[in-house]
Structures are given as structure tokens and as C-alpha cells.
Amino acid sequence: MSGVLLAGVTKRFGDALIVDRLSLDIAAGEFVVFLGPSGCGKSTLLRMIAGLESVDEGEILIDGRRVDHLPPGARGVAMVFQHYALYPHMTIRKNLSFGLRNMGVPADEIDRRIDAATKSLEIEALLDRRPGQLSGGQRQRAAIARAIVKQPALFLFDEPLSNLDAALRGRTRIELAQLHQQLRTTMIFVTHDQVEAMTLADRIVVINDRRIEQIGTPMEIYRRPATQFVASFVGTPKINLLPVTVDRSGAAAQVRLGDGTVLETAVSSVSLPGEADMTLGLRPERIRIAPLERGDTRGEARVVERLGERTLVHVRLADGAMLVAEDRGDSDVQAGQAVGLAMEGACAHLFARDGTAYHGVSA
């Protein structure tokens, strides 16, 4: 079992800084997801671990062994590429055996490994076909099988699900989770899809603009986002962000929304910085549709999205601010109707101007 250690890793392309002194400790057997918007440096970081990009500063260790000066083939890693990168003129069997033959693995051992991997991925029947004769999902499995047969110390996945249709993506996601449970090998997975990150990861590393914003378990990331960026990047529908003025006179901070509504938060007043104007973050599931007279505030329903098990209501407050609230699946709210809103102030987050998040004790 091998962990991965990144220490002060930096990458430049010319004058452009792509990855800025990034440090990270990944435990053996862990499934870590690098999550971030495109261009944040997450793929570059993965490719640096693979050896496909050079490291300008810092060190990369796999299983305690320094690898950043080694060629990709000598690092004991296997990678699944976004576009699969199967060799188009070779059969799937040759695709799988290519790396093993290069490493001098004996022929019977190669056959044994290919048998095992293709059986578990249910692609034995495709072994004598070429990648061009396979569907996207089958190619994806072949690419994963090519990684598995190498029995690497570390699996790297570069947005491997982004080319699959929605149904197949969901299924492959579950299969990857099962694969990790079976193999217990360290895996690093890059994606910009927060659902993939939430469902697959032991730990998520949220990367934005060359830096790590937050490292944590999926629920930590969701419930206690370290920054406003993390809060708005993770979660569908997106977290509601509203400008508020803060009153620190009580033990817990009180905030006043643009429409005059006063909300009690669970954020300790003394922990907050001196700014009077902050941003309130409240997830849609913490704002419920209520009878008009019983809500904390009221607004006009503008758009009603019925998702079946729940209903999302886009509401405009008196001051024009928009927010998304949740209602039951069988909600009878109609667009244009006035609705009351019940806000769970105890679950609110406050964000300072620099993006730093402040949470209540229970949030």
C-alpha cells in the first residue's frame, strides 16, 4: 500500500503559474478527488504525479519514494485518460498487455491478469476487438482494465466519466466505488463534477486558482465549506448567497437581510471579523416554503421546478434579491404566487469579504 506526499509542488508554463506551492498528504488506500473548475490546475497536478508534466519546485513521493525525477513508466502508477487513449490499431487484448510486455511480465502472468480484470469488468467478449469497434462505455471499461492489469501502486483518473452519457456516468461511478472497495489501492480522481466528487471521495481536495481551497471529507466540505468559493462550488442547487449587515451584540450574530428580515444565526459573534457587511450563505434545503403569515419573510415565487421528490422554488424577495427555496414534492406553489419562507438561521454560514467562512457550532 502506498500513500502519496506532495510537498510545495509548483508548476509554471512560461510566466504563468499553474500550480502554486501545493502540499498534500494522501494516505495509503485513500480515494482522493481533486475538485475544481476548469483551468484551476487540478489536471496539471495529476499529470505531475503521473510524470507527464515536469515539477518546477517541490517534491512528490509515492510510498515514501521520491518520484518527481523519474519517467512516468518507472513510478508505478496507472492512469485512465479523459479520452481513454486506447491504442486504436491494437486489439483490446494487446492494449492491456502492451504495458505488461514492456515491463517484462511473463506471458502466462499477463494472460492471468487480463482474464481477471476483464472478467470483473465484464469485457471478456471484447478482447479481440479494436477500440474503434467499441461503444464509449466499453472503451471506458477497457481503459480501466488497462490500468488494473498493471497492478499499480496508485491509480490516477483524469475526468474519466466526462465523455459518458448521464445514465452510464452514474453506473460507472458506482462501479468505480466498488472497484476501490475491492482493490483498496490509492486512487486520485480529477473532476469538475461535484456529484462525482461527493459520491466517490474519501476526501475531496477543492482546488481553485492554483491553490487548495479546502481538504475534507465530502460532508465536511458540504457542511462546513472553508470559503465562499467552496460553498458555492459544491451543492446542487447552488447555495443562496445574500448580502447582510451583521449585529454582534448577542453571543450569536444576528443578520439583517436586504428586505429587512432579521435572522438569528449560530455563528459566534466574537469569532467574526469587524466587517459590518458580510455575505450570508444558506443552502436551499434550509429555506422551506411556509404559509404566508408564519414565515420569517415572504416573497414572490418566480419559477417553480418540480423534481418529483422535492420542488425548487425561485423566490424574489421584497428588495429584489433572488433565492432558491425547497418545498415538498407535491407542492402546490404556482409561479407568481406570494409565499412565506422559513429560514433555518442556525444552519447559516457567514462569509467575510475575503471569502473566509464562519460557521455556527451545529452547522
Binding site: 503521473a50 510524470g51 507527464l52 513508466g73 491504442y87 514492456n102
Partner: protein, 302 residues
């Protein structure tokens, strides 16, 4: 008005013959040009090859006599042999050297951009300039080759008047002249190979020769076939270099088929005989190109 237009159009598009033939309209411009410039001359040439003709017109119908004469004409048979020899000298060399240059120059550095331009530059020269340059290199009296030979204490060799060395000298000139095209075609093909294949191969621990033979060459095999076919067709038509450098000599050792056709037609005014020789050359090129196509497409099962 607009109404009537629409009905007319819909009635037109519904009528079956119109639908069947309307596609023809799109290919017609090319088809006409192709017929006028290639098919028609081919037919006229075939017809001419069965006659005895000069520049004033057809003198007599002779059937296949021209062909019979050709195959017993030692000069023509020598010319055919010379042409095959020349193709064998140039086509593999152009393909392999072009590929090697493309492999070396397929990167984004400034030096390779300069060198690509340098290697391609010779292609834009006319055959007159190219042969002039190489005659200056090859003449035994003060040419570059002679100077080099003297440096090593050797007597200078008269390449172009040596029956054994003249054809290789013309081949060398042709390779120098024509290397730009295969190089550019190979460069274009190499840049189409997805980069992630090389990355996958790097992670698969593949050595450089392994990558060349298992990834690069299979990925550009269509371009290799294309280059070989193009070069076969081009080099079978050797003319200018031989005419300008040796005039077909010494002792017919560098006389190619096209030069034979030219001299039969425009020096001896035997247009029918020349046309027959041209048909033989056409058949040679067609068979060679098709054989190459057959071999290269069979290697890859569908």
C-alpha cells in the same frame, strides 16, 4: 409570387427523376473538367496509339503494330528498365528520409521551424535550377564533389558520364529536390496523432523504438501508403532531370520512358508510336500504384 415559387420548388423536389439527378448538378463542374482534361485525352491517346501519325494528322491505321514495335525496340525496353531502376532508387529513399526528417522536426522549437523551411525550400525550385545546381556539384572539373574527392586524395569521378553512376546521380538530385513533399505530408500526419497515446505509452513503460514501431508508424500508416503512391506516380514520370543532366546518356543508361516518348513524338514526329509508349507508361503507373494500394490496405484487416 413567393407562393408560386414555393409550390414549384416542392413539386420539383417531389418528382423522382429530379431528385435522382439533382446531385449530379453538384459534381458536374468537376466531372466536366475531369472528362475534358483527363478522360478525353486518354481516349484520344489510345486511338492515336493504333495509327501512324505525324503533326499533320493520321497517315494510316496500323492496329497494334506500334505496341509490337515497342516491345522489340531495345531503346524502349532499356528506358522501361531505367525507369523502374530510378523508381526503386528514389521512392523508398524519399519515403524513409522524408519520414526520418519529419520525426526529427516534429516539435515546436524555433530550430525545427527553420529547418523545416530549409528542407522544403528545394521543392519550390524549378527543375532547371535544381539540375543546374547539381551539375555544378557533380562536374569533375571543379565541382563540389570533385573538390571533396581531392581532399581525400581521390581522383574526381565524372558521375554524369559514367553509365553506372549517372542514374544514381540523377536519383540523388531528385531526392534532394523532392524531399519537401513527403516530409510535409508526414509532419501533418504526425501532428494528427493524439498526444495522449504517447502519454499512455510513456506510462506503459514503452521504449523509444517501441513507441515508434507500435504507436507512431501504425498511426500514420495511411499517410505512408499515400506518400508511396504519390511518389510512385511522380517518379515514374522522370523527365526534366534526365533530359537536362544527361540527355538520356551515356549510352541510353539514363533514358526514362517519358524522355523516350518525348523524343519519339517531338523529335522523330512518330506521334502514334509515342502515344503507344505513353499508354504503356500509364499502365505501368496504374499497376504499380494499385499494387501498392492493395498491399497496404490488406495489411490492415477491417
Amino acid at each position: 409570387m413567393a407562393m408560386g415559387d414555393a409550390t414549384l420548388r416542392s413539386r420539383l423536389s417531389q418528382s423522382a427523376p429530379w431528385r435522382r439527378w439533382s446531385g449530379l448538378l453538384f459534381v458536374a463542374p468537376y466531372l466536366l473538367l475531369f472528362a475534358a482534361m483527363l478522360i478525353l485525352p486518354l481516349i484520344i491517346g489510345l486511338r492515336l496509339s493504333t495509327t501512324r501519325s505525324d503533326l499533320f494528322g493520321v497517315k494510316a491505321e496500323v492496329g497494334l503494330e506500334n505496341y509490337a514495335r515497342l516491345f522489340s525496340d531495345p531503346v524502349f525496353l532499356k528506358a522501361v528498365g531505367n525507369t523502374f531502376y530510378f523508381v526503386a532508387l528514389t521512392v523508398p529513399a524519399l519515403t524513409i528520409i522524408g519520414l526520418a526528417l519529419a520525426l526529427v522536426l516534429n516539435n515546436a522549437s524555433r530550430w525545427s521551424a527553420v529547418l523545416r523551411a530549409v528542407f522544403f525550400a528545394s521543392t519550390v525550385l524549378s527543375v532547371t535550377v535544381v539540375t543546374l545546381i547539381w551539375r555544378l556539384v557533380l562536374i569533375p572539373d571543379g565541382g563540389l564533389a570533385a573538390v571533396i574527392a581531392r581532399l581525400f586524395g581521390q581522383a574526381p569521378i565524372a558521375f554524369l558520364s559514367d553509365p553506372v553512376l549517372a542514374m544514381p546521380a540523377i536519383a540523388l538530385t531528385t531526392i534532394w529536390w523532392g524531399i519537401g513533399l513527403p516530409m510535409v505530408l508526414f509532419l501533418a500526419a504526425l501532428q494528427q496523432v493524439p498526444r495522449d497515446l504517447y502519454e499512455a505509452a510513456a506510462l506503459d513503460n514503452a521504449s523509444r523504438p517501441r513507441i515508434l514501431f507500435s504507436i507512431t508508424l501504425p498511426a500514420i500508416r495511411r499517410t505512408i501508403a499515400l506518400v508511396v503512391i504519390i511518389e510512385i506516380i511522380l517518379q515514374f514520370q522522370l523527365f526534366g532531370q534526365a533530359q537536362l543532366m544527361t540527355g538520356g546518356g551515356p549510352n541510353n543508361s539514363t533514358r526514362p520512358v517519358v524522355l523516350f516518348i518525348y523524343e519519339a513524338g517531338w523529335k522523330q514526329w512518330q506521334l502514334g508510336y509515342a502515344a503507344a509508349a505513353a499508354q504503356v507508361l500509364f499502365a505501368m503507373i496504374a499497376i504499380a500504384a494499385m499494387a501498392q494500394y492493395y498491399v497496404s490496405s490488406r495489411k490492415e484487416p477491417a
